[in-house]
């Protein structure tokens, strides 16, 4: 009996496990878990049927579709430019590189509302860039294109900063090996380098996607908010709240949360898998 007890109290060599674990769990609970639980508590007022009815209402579904499809496209575009940017920042030397590097986090630092306002001013058909496109009859602001652009804006740092360290660590021997086997630059990139940065890119992709789906401040200004066309899901939550329909709002929020959580979980699983393959 006594022996058993001792075994349960497993000793760890490095001190501080109970303290650090305690603080970690306490803070995660206080700041993340308990508040998040409120959503579930609130949504639990609904029966399953009601819940399903709310989250599958036509306008809600269209909100999801708009948010998700724009975020997806933005995340994909971010992946392409993110890889190019990370590549340029790691592999090339050129004047202004440090400046370029420093700018990447700008979207983190700029308040989303300010970003939204600026982007709208820039891309509306009176704006500097929107004006150019308007000449060709292309509208950017107040369309899905505009929403996508705002989401690209907020998502780019996630992708670049995920890929950059991996590229930095990437052993040039792999490239040399490929070139010794006769491969040219693009082939080496797609067959040898790309698989290496893929897990990191997916992480960045997932974060950008999750952020895009949930983004409000910078998107709401540039979205036209026309139901079934340019109305994003977070705006729907807002609008439910205006009507004091908390349960409806939380039901919609819950679906988005679950989606975000699944995206994150999937990413973590991919990471674990990728490290398994490479170590």
């Amino acid at each position: 009996m006594e022996y058993k007890l001792k075994r349960i109290k497993r000793r760890r060599v490095i001190p501080g496990f109970p303290l650090s674990m305690g603080i970690t769990l306490a803070m995660v609970s206080m700041i993340v878990l308990i508040p998040m639980a409120s959503i579930i508590i609130c949504a639990s007022d609904l029966s399953l049927q009601e819940f399903i009815q709310i989250v599958t209402a036509k306008d809600v579904v269209s909100g999801y579709v708009v948010s998700f499809s724009c975020a997806l496209i933005a995340a994909i575009i971010n992946c392409i430019f993110g890889v190019i940017l990370a590549w340029v920042l790691v592999r090339y030397e050129f004047p202004g590189k440090r400046f370029l590097d420093g700018l990447i986090e700008l979207p983190f630092a700029l308040p989303t509302a300010v970003a939204g306002i600026s982007l709208t001013a820039l891309y509306s058909d009176q704006g500097w860039i929107g004006g150019i496109f308007a000449k060709f009859g292309i509208k950017i602001a107040y369309t899905k294109v505009g929403i996508t652009i705002a989401m690209i804006f907020i998502g780019i740092p996630f992708v670049v900063r995920a890929i950059q360290p991996v590229l930095e660590k990437f052993d040039p021997q792999y490239e040399e090996a490929a070139s010794m086997l006769g491969a040219n630059g693009s082939r080496t990139f797609f067959r040898v380098i790309f698989p290496e940065i893929l897990p990191a890119m997916l992480t960045g992709f997932g974060l950008a996607l999750a952020r895009g789906i949930g983004e409000y401040g910078s998107v709401v200004f540039i979205a036209g908010n026309i139901p079934y066309k340019t109305q994003i899901a977070p705006l729907l939550i807002m609008s439910k709240l205006e009507q004091l329909k908390y349960t409806d709002a939380t039901a919609i929020a819950l679906v988005m949360l679950v989606v975000s959580f699944l995206i994150l979980l999937l990413l973590n699983i991919i990471q674990v898998h990728a490290t398994k393959r490479t170590t």
Partner: protein, 280 residues
Amino acid sequence: MSIKQDSVDLKKGAKITKTVLITVSLLFVIIMLVIPMLILIVYAFKDGFTKYIEAITDTYTIKALRLTIIATITAVAINTFFGLFAAWAVTKFYFKGKQLLLTLIDIPFAVSPVIAGLIFILTFGRIGWAHGFLEAHDIQIVFAVPGVIIATIFVTFPFISREIIPVLNAQGKDEEEAAALMGASGFRIFRKITLPHMKWALLYGIVLCSARAMGEFGAVSVLSGHLRGKTNTLPLHVEIIYNEFKLSAAFAVSSILVVLAVIILILRNIVEYKAKKGGR
């Protein structure tokens, strides 16, 4: 001779790729990041320099700036505290459910700011389940400064731990084990061995966390109540003056945030440069 030509072409190919990629990057960054910032500056000075100064020295602006700084400092302090302990727990020990814990820490990354605000309303607001308790003790959280701070903490929660954890993971725990074996206390190990190793990552995390904390809008907007001079942070204040038709003043105030952001990004670059030099 033909061989020589070939190699020259190949080098030329690589050069062209380089030029194209750099151009594409620059264009992307300019269009997506630089011009929006530029537009902001242009608008900020549209009504002239005096108007600009007036806007940024307005008492409400200063009060908002103060709140923003308080919220940022508190969030950074608390998240640093958390980040250090979490990183220690996660990287120095083996336990079940580590992956789940990491995912939980990441959640605020993926939560819509609107929902982030909502959850605190649903918790601490008049309709929240904790309201009875707060009421009894006359504690006001949402629609008051604590709410603004809590929301800021929430949205920036993972920033610091996420920066340190990979660095500590890469370092392994041999050095800590070696020190523990010699009988060093946890605090000593942390201070003498772990901290020097991660200090640049920590600083980088702090920089990012402050940047994000200063700029937070959505979540704070939901639970601030927009009380002028009380619960308005700088981004909220920007929205308010924007809504007052003072476009240029709004951008002027935004420019404070931009300047802060730029300072922070410069700090970030310095930190990174030092880290690379120190890391070798």
